[in-house]
Assembly symmetry: C2
Homo-oligomer: 340 residues x 2
């Protein structure tokens, strides 16, 4: 039995291109005692993976190894269990099984999906998974929104951003988001319910002024997904005692000559707190997250979009698409059908 998988051939220099990946039909090993064979249904591509494509980088997750299969979040179904923790037929999700058709695992970090909730399986890689947790934890535990405050979200039409916008509206805040097209801005205003949306490509160097117009009472919380001039604009517009939730800086990941942020002195004068976090900081809060987000999804309070790439072979393209700004909502790769 063969297992199709995506390997990393070399580390990218700047923007990743398809030729850094290699798609291989590898041998599937026999199951050892305690192992399970998972048939993958969905896998996720996320911006943080770019950070793992740099050799020797001192980061919170080790770099991907060259010549090896990549890893990342996935949803799948147990085909066979040789004494593993889940039974054949169970649907499971975890952070390590992605970029391959089948996954052999002892179940470490894997959890069983409660199918009674009725959520589509892909949601466990988005609103009910890591991006949902990131949005929920970052906004609530670091941003600490109060009713009436203004929340500014960059990459607001992205997987995390669109959820932050909606949680901020549930928390009775005024929400301003940026996105890279008129279509996305329309979606933010009409479907997601933000109070103002800024097309940052159109605004260009005028982003700071556009933000000040869109946030006439100033910005209390900036949910940072982009970096560079987005951060500069936020620092200009922020109110005293503002909070910056530092979640990502996607504009800088592929930039060999990163843009410097020139107005950090605002952090002092305005007594701003900027705090970085990663989703694993929040694992103790999973029950509270599940209660909140599960409830909002069930009651229709939270909406989401997916940009789906069909077939494992499209995974490189899906990943590269994260940096072009063309995706709306969560980027997912469908590896196989829900039912075998």
């Amino acid at each position: 039995m063969k297992n199709r998988e995506v390997r990393l051939k070399r580390y990218p220099d700047g923007l990743p291109a398809k030729d850094i990946f290699e798609i291989v039909d590898a041998d599937l090993p026999a199951l050892a005692q305690g192992q399970m064979l998972i048939r993958n249904i969905w896998m996720t591509v996320d911006p943080y993976m770019r950070g793992r494509m740099t050799a020797g980088r001192d980061s919170y997750v080790p770099p991907f190894e060259l010549g090896e299969v990549l890893d990342g979040g996935s949803v799948g179904q147990v085909v066979e269990s040789n004494g593993g923790p889940f039974a054949a037929g169970d649907y499971v999700t975890g952070m390590l099984g992605g970029w391959r058709q089948y996954h052999v695992t002892n179940g470490l970090g894997l959890s069983k999906i409660d199918m009674a909730l009725g959520a589509p399986l892909g949601a466990y890689l988005g609103v009910l998974g890591m991006p949902g947790m990131t949005a929920w934890y970052g906004l609530q535990k670091i941003g600490k929104p109060k009713p009436g405050e203004t929340v500014f979200v960059s990459a607001a039409a992205g997987a995390v951003g669109a959820l932050v916008c909606q949680i901020a509206k549930i928390r009775e805040c005024r929400v301003v988001g940026t996105a890279g097209s008129a279509k996305k801005c329309d979606w933010l205003k009409n479907a997601i319910g933000v109070d103002a949306a800024i097309n940052y490509r159109e605004a260009g160097d005028g982003l700071s002024n556009a933000l000040k117009e869109a946030a006439p009472k100033g910005v209390d919380i900036y949910f940072e997904n982009v970096g560079g001039i987005h951060l500069e604009a936020a620092l200009e517009a922020m109110n005293p005692l503002g909070r910056i939730v530092a979640c990502g800086m996607i504009s800088q990941y592929n930039n060999p000559d990163p843009v410097g942020v020139r107005n950090l002195f605002n952090v002092i004068g305005k007594r701003i707190t900027m705090q970085g976090f990663i989703v694993s900081d929040s694992f103790a809060e999973i029950p509270a997250f599940t209660a909140d987000m599960g409830g909002w999804v069930a009651s229709g309070k939270i909406k989401w979009e997916e940009t789906v790439y069909d077939g494992l072979d499209k995974a490189p393209e899906a990943f590269i698409g994260l940096f072009s700004g063309d995706n709306l909502g969560k980027a997912l790769v469908r590896i196989g059908p829900d039912k075998a």
Copy 2:
């Protein structure tokens, strides 16, 4: 009776020069009911004043007004009281009476100095005053040092920095400081007791490597007084869950084209918290500060240096000297003798 005072003629463009100031012998008004006449003995010059020399700037303190006497911290003695809160002969200190020979005030923001402590009067503008409070509050309440951690202090031979270094040593931390000359680095190592001192002028572009060598276990707390490449070096060297105490960014205050910080993505991967503060955030802590710092001063645990400019007419020079990096310790202007 005439009152010599220093007025601001125009806002500086970049580095302040003497010709932005004007020294004038103004008329001294008669005391209204409730007012006192204070003879100034010392005044302070501090980097934050540069921020008040910009028109229309949205900052935590309003800009200085053109054509008016400047203000700032001072120590003086009450000459006459017309029903004011302190009596003739009392020594007082406050944040508003500086840049002038005499000060007419109702006592707002002024406190009486306890002469029984035996500290020199200038110390109330340094170790026992605003810079002391800034160092104590910033390091302890924002930095939260734990024994064995590494604290990196920029402008370590400055008024605030040298106190931060010593409090960090009292808290059993390893301390690395930067300063702009070999003489200051020697003073930091031999008098202040830091574990390593880096001459940043000598290090140049190699500051980041020099810091990594001086802090082999990484930096847990960065006390930020400088900005620019100092902040970049700190971000490279910091450990996960590091704290940046954002107190000042003196390298940027006179720079019409500020240096951008290019590696802020470390804030995310390393889950760093960067928090800006100003000394007035800490006023509720004055009793705790006085207990700690008064005790350390009395027992000789805290040392300090002063760079004294003699005479009110030297105040512009003293202020400009803040940005040349030539001062050691606290810069003060002596306006008159301790006793009239």
